[in-house]
């Protein structure tokens, strides 16, 4: 599911203030681990072991014999799966597609969220509450449901939008070529702008008023204040939000899976890396290869996160 319905990721950036408790040290190790124990056991079970298992699987492959019916053997294959993935153009095309598309879509989404947050910053408090509640509606709709709604709205046969266009004597199609990306992007943007708006609003409100009071007294226009004072002061948050959303986009799955229902020729089974992994594991049952693909995706995610972390750390300090 999309990260934007998963708010948490955003904040990971914040420079953690280390307020090291000095004297707790002696008993620290024991106590600290005691408090962490439930988490650590669970972490072992739900992260470490599965990853180890996937690693083990990824080094194997399935072999049959004769006419291919009867028991198969899972044999050690070394890095054969990984070699095949490295050479698999479609897999990397999916990865690149997801990243490029994500970068464009997230930029638009954050742009709109920023605009809305700035607009909300400039109107009366009662109206703020009304608009904020309305704009947040998409966020409280489960991702599955919102995708379903848009599935109907995009459907070449069931869509009221197509219906209106027909009555006006024109035609609209939501898929094929660039339209596919616009439609998918619209769905994700629709889901995400409300939450990101709240986030940006919160950062805006946390800015010290002195920052722009002086400018205001000097008679500067609101949009000027917004553009030259407010926006530059929250760029850090914007960049980080954007990058973490982008990392999340790599796992894009539910939305294209559903949209495939109405646009199968535009959204293929290897449209995104997760779709490809799902297809491998669940449709053909080749989970050694799927495990290897999962690991490659995890590594790419990790590398991206690390690069972002370095870049932003440098920028911030």
């Amino acid at each position: 599911m999309s990260t934007l319905t998963r708010p948490p990721k955003v904040a990971t950036d914040s420079p953690v203030r280390r307020t090291s408790p000095r004297r707790a040290g002696r008993r620290g190790a024991y106590k600290g681990l005691l408090f962490m124990l439930p988490f650590l056991i669970g972490f072992l079970l739900t992260y470490v072991v599965p990853i180890g298992y996937a690693l083990n699987q990824s080094l194997h492959e399935k072999k049959s014999s004769g006419i291919g019916f009867g028991p198969t053997k899972v044999v050690f294959a070394g890095f054969a799966n990984f070699a095949a993935i490295l050479a698999d153009g479609a897999f990397w095309a999916g990865m690149l597609r997801t990243l490029l598309f994500g970068a464009a879509q997230i930029t638009v989404m954050l742009g709109i969220s920023l605009l809305l947050a700035l607009l909300l910053d400039g109107i009366a408090a009662r109206a703020v509450r009304f608009f904020r509640a309305g704009l947040l509606i998409p966020y409280v709709i489960p991702g599955v449901v919102s995708t379903l709604i848009w599935l109907f709205l995009y459907s070449p046969t069931a869509s009221p939008i197509v219906d209106i266009a027909d009555r006006l004597g024109t035609s609209v199609t939501f898929f094929g070529g660039i339209n596919t990306y616009l439609s998918l992007g619209n769905l994700l943007t629709w889901q995400g702008i409300g939450f990101n708006m709240i986030l940006i609003s919160a950062s805006l409100q946390a800015l010290p008023r002195e920052l722009y009071e002086a400018a205001r007294l000097d008679g500067a226009k609101e949009w000027r204040i917004a553009w030259s004072i407010k926006v530059p002061n929250i760029t850090g948050i914007l960049v980080l939000t954007g990058m973490f959303s982008l990392i999340g986009r790599l796992q894009l799955f539910t939305e294209p899976l559903f949209l495939r229902y109405v646009a199968p020729e535009s959204i293929s089974t290897d449209f995104t890396p997760m779709l490809e992994i799902f297809d491998r594991a669940f449709k053909t049952g080749d989970y050694q290869y799927a495990a290897a693909e999962s690991l490659v995706l995890a590594v790419v995610t990790g590398v991206l996160a690390f690069v972002f972390y370095r870049v932003t750390n440098r920028k911030m300090s």
Binding site: G68, F69, K73, S155, Y261, V262, P264, E265, G285
Partner: protein, 441 residues
């Protein structure tokens, strides 16, 4: 919901890594011999996602205290993967619903029980192609449940308006499509969904092609055989001349394509019939059924998907499992209930004589009454070609074909290019898995 196993969590976490390493390499020993007759009372678990089956399980359980069946409604896209994992971890159900393609896939991975011996007594009840679907590579792994033989439905009023007749052959269909195009560019004779290469599968099946053919100890792969290319050519002509719409069958409003007269004929089957009255508000009463177009009018063949009940590996009572599955899909009692549209099962029998079950599935208002719908359906059921076989990597091939099919629909590649690619791909894939296969012909 199952039992709560709190202690298992803590204990298992430690012992886990070891057992994982061990089990990850074990493919299983396979050789389940399933000939013995079970005595005494047994319990079987059965996964399905067909409506109306649960009620039949209840009926069975009342009459058969010695074989109690526990029904699990296993809805969802991932059921096959869950079954795989369940078999690997040793807690699979005895029986599960599948389609022919997945049965072959499971059999190829050694996840099913060979029930050839205990199933033999039931073979004569089902049609030959249905039995083929549960017997990939010669051994039987399940019992057929239902079939969906293909036939054609067309808008009789619009056919008359455009001056065309119900096509007897595929060439007729193409010619009729072209005639319609001359009068109205917006009207199509046929539909091919972009996600769904099943049109090509059906055409190849009807043309008598064999993509996979078992020849003794090896497979002959025939994606580029003359019959297969003949089928491919029909698709190519439909694409080249823009004779087909591209409505996806998964599109929620798909029936509008036909209801509004944009597409004036469709390939259809038994499971769709009961929902026609609600979905064709504008055009019901104007439709008529006809036999599916043929390649060779002298030897007309159609095709069908089959629902099957597979017996999974580790099933301890294959004889009872087969007995239940056969009762479910061949006894008059069960079939009468399941083929009633009220059950919402959409099931059509795979037995030899389907005539008692045809009348009820025909919608009341859809057809104009000018042709004998029941006759068309029974004819289709009797004409399903029995040469079609599912190879061991059929599911992977289908996935590969789906990707290419989208490109064919977008006119980026030709059907022939796709078939040539699949021929090479299947041979290479089988070889890499250690399966013996050669190009046909």
């Amino acid at each position: 919901m199952s039992t709560i196993r709190t202690r298992a969590v803590a204990g298992a976490a430690a012992a886990l890594s070891l057992s994982l390493v061990l089990s990850a390499c074990g493919g299983g020993d396979g050789s389940d011999s399933a000939a013995k007759t079970t005595k005494g009372d047994v319990k079987l678990e059965f996964w399905s996602w067909t409506d109306g089956i649960e009620a039949q399980v209840g009926v069975w359980n009342k009459a058969h205290p010695e074989t109690q069946v526990k029904f699990v409604n296993a809805a969802g896209d991932t059921v096959y993967q869950k079954l795989r994992a369940a078999v690997t971890s040793g807690n699979a159900p005895c029986l599960s619903k599948m389609d022919g393609m997945n049965l072959a896939n499971f059999a190829a991975d050694g996840l099913l029980t060979d029930i050839s011996e205990v199933a033999a007594p039931y073979k004569s009840r089902y049609t030959a192609p249905a039995w083929n679907a549960v017997s990939p590579g010669g051994a039987t792994y399940g019992i057929p449940t239902g079939s969906s033989p293909l036939f054609t439905a067309y808008r009789a009023d619009l056919f008359q308006k455009y001056g065309i007749k119900a096509p007897k052959t595929w060439q007729d269909l193409i010619d009729a499509g072209k005639a319609v195009q001359k009068k109205d560019k917006g009207v199509k004779i046929y539909n091919m969904a972009g996600e769904d290469p099943s049109t090509l599968v059906d055409l190849s099946w009807e043309a008598g092609a064999q993509w996979y053919k078992l020849a003794g100890d090896h497979w002959e792969i025939g994606f580029t055989s003359p019959e297969a290319l003949k089928a491919g050519d029909v698709v190519q002509q439909l694409v080249d001349n823009d004779l087909a719409s591209n409505a996806s069958y998964a599109d929620p409003g798909v029936f509008k394509t036909w209801d509004l007269g944009h597409t004036i004929a469709m390939t259809t089957s038994t499971w769709q019939l009961p929902i026609y009255d609600t979905n064709f508000p504008k055009s019901k009463g104007e439709w008529q059924l006809a036999d599916s177009p043929a390649f060779d009018p002298a030897k007309p063949q159609t095709s069908s998907n089959f629902d099957v009940t597979a017996v999974l590996k580790g099933c301890k009572y294959p004889d009872r499992a087969a007995q239940f599955a056969a009762w479910l899909s061949s006894s008059k009692e069960s079939l009468t209930a399941l083929t009633d549209p009220k059950s919402k099962s959409g099931l059509f029998p795979a037995v030899k004589d389907v005539s008692p079950y045809v009348d009820k599935i025909i919608p009341a208002e859809m057809f104009n009454g000018k042709s004998d719908s029941a006759q068309v359906i029974t004819t289709a059921a009797s004409r399903v070609g029995d040469q079609w076989q599912y190879g061991p990597n059929y599911a992977a091939m289908y996935s590969e074909m789906q990707k290419q099919w989208g490109q064919v629909m977008k006119k980026e590649i030709t059907v022939k290019e796709m078939l040539t690619h699949l021929q090479d791909w299947v041979l290479a894939d089988l070889k890499s898995k250690g399966v013996k296969a050669v190009a046909a012909g």
